[in-house]
């Protein structure tokens, strides 16, 4: 089991989360060429080692997280919210 330290909920099993994918993808502007869009949508670095990726806390706070994780050892180096501003909203609603 991978344990993910969710900044909103604390440390939880990864089975509470859904894997999103590569967090470094930058989508091009709408008027970019088909080549640019093809690259962004279909082509991946597929890193063997530490990569930045997104996870969704599906069965928890339902927040998107950006995680630095090794794709070989599954060790996690850092976890941070994808949308830090939302943290205040969550706290205000508690």
């Amino acid at each position: 089991m991978i344990r993910i330290n969710c900044p909103y909920c604390g440390e939880r099993d990864h089975s509470e989360f859904s894997y999103g994918g590569d967090a470094t993808i930058k989508y091009p502007s709408l008027d970019s060429s088909e080549k640019e869009w093809t690259k962004a949508i279909f082509f991946r670095k597929n890193i063997k080692g530490f990569q930045l990726e997104t996870w969704h806390h599906t069965n928890g706070c339902r927040m998107w997280l950006e995680i630095e994780r090794s794709t070989v050892t599954h060790e996690i180096r850092s976890v941070k919210p994808c949308h830090p501003d939302l943290k205040k909203v969550v706290e205000n609603n508690k």
Binding site: D13, G21, R44, K45, T71
Partner: protein, 421 residues
């Protein structure tokens, strides 16, 4: 190499089995080859075999970083079928199945191919419609396919759980010519047959880099020295991106995910078919090996990984699916489980194609389906390398198909590799 036939079996039986020769040589790498295939799995070995057999290209090396049959060749559930519907795919997999049917004779090696039928259960009227469409397309192309109603299914496989109220079994889509084979025997059979035709199989030979001149790959740097090759083929599914980036070619429409499989202790004959709990239900497939073990698997681990080991949530998930469909397995003990690294592609289909480097050819992206594809994969990859022109069946199985909008997406799951199960 001693041929397997009745005469040699009897002769060696009387001589204490002392006259068998080794199955393939362990040569030192030569300096030059006409073709270097990187990856000594089923696809690489099959490619080398068909290069020598179909195209008379015999100065071929297969480079394997570990030992042959030690990667994904030994990490699968050995299912062989051809129930695909997309243009290109169904012709390709049907040809593969036809090659399987004669493979033991062709290789002079018993790959224990058993056409025991592949039974896909469906669990809702919508699932029945969907699978009927696929199986009708198969029939239109001359592939065997049929639907079993509940009465026939109960007669054939009486011990499924027919009282599952969440996913009731309504019937099954069946391909009778589909079945299983012995995975190690396929690797050994291809290695032995390729070696007999003059192919060098170089084990413990890891590729560490490439030397480029004039835009071509001139030689391959390996842990056993520098080897020159006129043409280079990649057949390293699971690690394709790593090699691709070693050749400085950038990104690929591939993510590496791991898929687990499980083997139980051996039991008496219990299941005579490959059963899939899949259409409109969970995702679970099971068969019984010739030794008696139940061999089964389910979904990917759902996150990208190069680790060849599985994670526990999926073990639980697969066990739950097993119990839902096959309650009599409840007290069976697991012997072992493992994970293989899959090239999951953006549309769930494979690549047999040319690359931006003129003497480099790519065979990759086999998702869940690499085992059954091995013979045809070798056949058409060898054809591409020898003739420089992709065969009609694989003309769209290239890296440009995404930009052209001709994705070959059997499931219609879209550009998310983990969903193409």
């Amino acid at each position: 190499m001693t041929k397997f036939n009745a005469w040699n079996v009897i002769k060696n039986g009387l001589n204490g089995q002392s006259y068998w020769t080794r199955q393939w040589r362990d040569p030192e790498p030569k300096k030059n080859y006409d073709v270097i295939i990187i990856g000594g799995g089923l696809h690489g070995l099959a490619t080398a075999y068909y290069l020598a057999k179909n195209h008379n290209i015999k100065n071929v090396a297969v480079l394997e970083k570990g030992w042959i049959g030690g990667g994904n060749a030994g990490r699968n559930t050995t299912i062989v079928r051809s129930n695909y519907m997309m243009p290109g795919n169904h012709e390709f997999y049907e040809h593969s199945l036809k090659l399987w049917e004669n493979l033991s004779h062709d290789l002079n090696y018993n790959v224990m191919f058993s056409q025991r039928a592949h039974v896909s259960l469906f669990h809702s009227p919508v699932a029945k419609d969907s699978v009927s469409r696929t199986y009708n397309i198969m029939r239109l192309h001359g592939t065997d396919a049929e639907l079993w109603d509940l009465k026939k299914l109960k007669k054939k496989i009486p011990h499924l759980n027919y009282n599952n109220s969440r996913f009731p079994i309504l019937g099954a889509a069946v391909q009778k010519r589909a079945g299983n084979a012995r995975h190690d025997a396929v690797a050994w059979g291809y290695a032995r047959a390729a070696d007999t035709l003059g192919v060098d199989i170089l084990q413990n030979c890891e590729v560490t880099g490439f030397t480029r001149t004039n835009g071509m790959i001139e030689s391959v740097q390996t842990s056993r020295g520098i080897i020159k090759g006129k043409k280079i083929g990649f057949a390293v599914a699971g690690n394709t991106s790593v090699l691709w980036q070693m050749a400085e070619l950038g990104n690929l429409p591939i993510e590496s995910h791991k898929l687990q499989a499980f083997v139980s202790e051996a039991v008496k004959p219990l299941l005579d078919q490959v059963v899939v709990y899949g259409v409109g239900g969970a995702h679970f497939y099971i068969s019984q090996s010739d030794k008696g073990s139940m061999v089964f698997g389910g979904d990917l681990d759902w996150y990208k990984s190069y680790a060849q080991r599985g994670n526990l949530p999926m073990v639980q998930d697969v066990a739950e699916a097993a119990m839902a469909i096959f309650p009599s397995l409840g007290r069976i003990r697991l012997l072992r489980h493992w994970a293989g690294v899959m090239d999951m592609t953006m549309d769930g289909s494979f690549f047999i194609c040319k690359t931006p480097i003129s003497n480099l050819y790519l065979n990759a992206g086999w998702n869940y389906g690499g085992f059954k594809a091995s013979p045809a994969s070798g056949w058409y990859f060898a054809d591409l390398i020898a003739n420089e022109n992709p065969h009609n069946y694989v003309q769209n199985h290239n890296l440009e198909r995404f930009e052209k909008g001709i994705n070959i997406d059997e499931r219609g799951a879209g550009p998310d590799p983990k969903l193409h199960g």
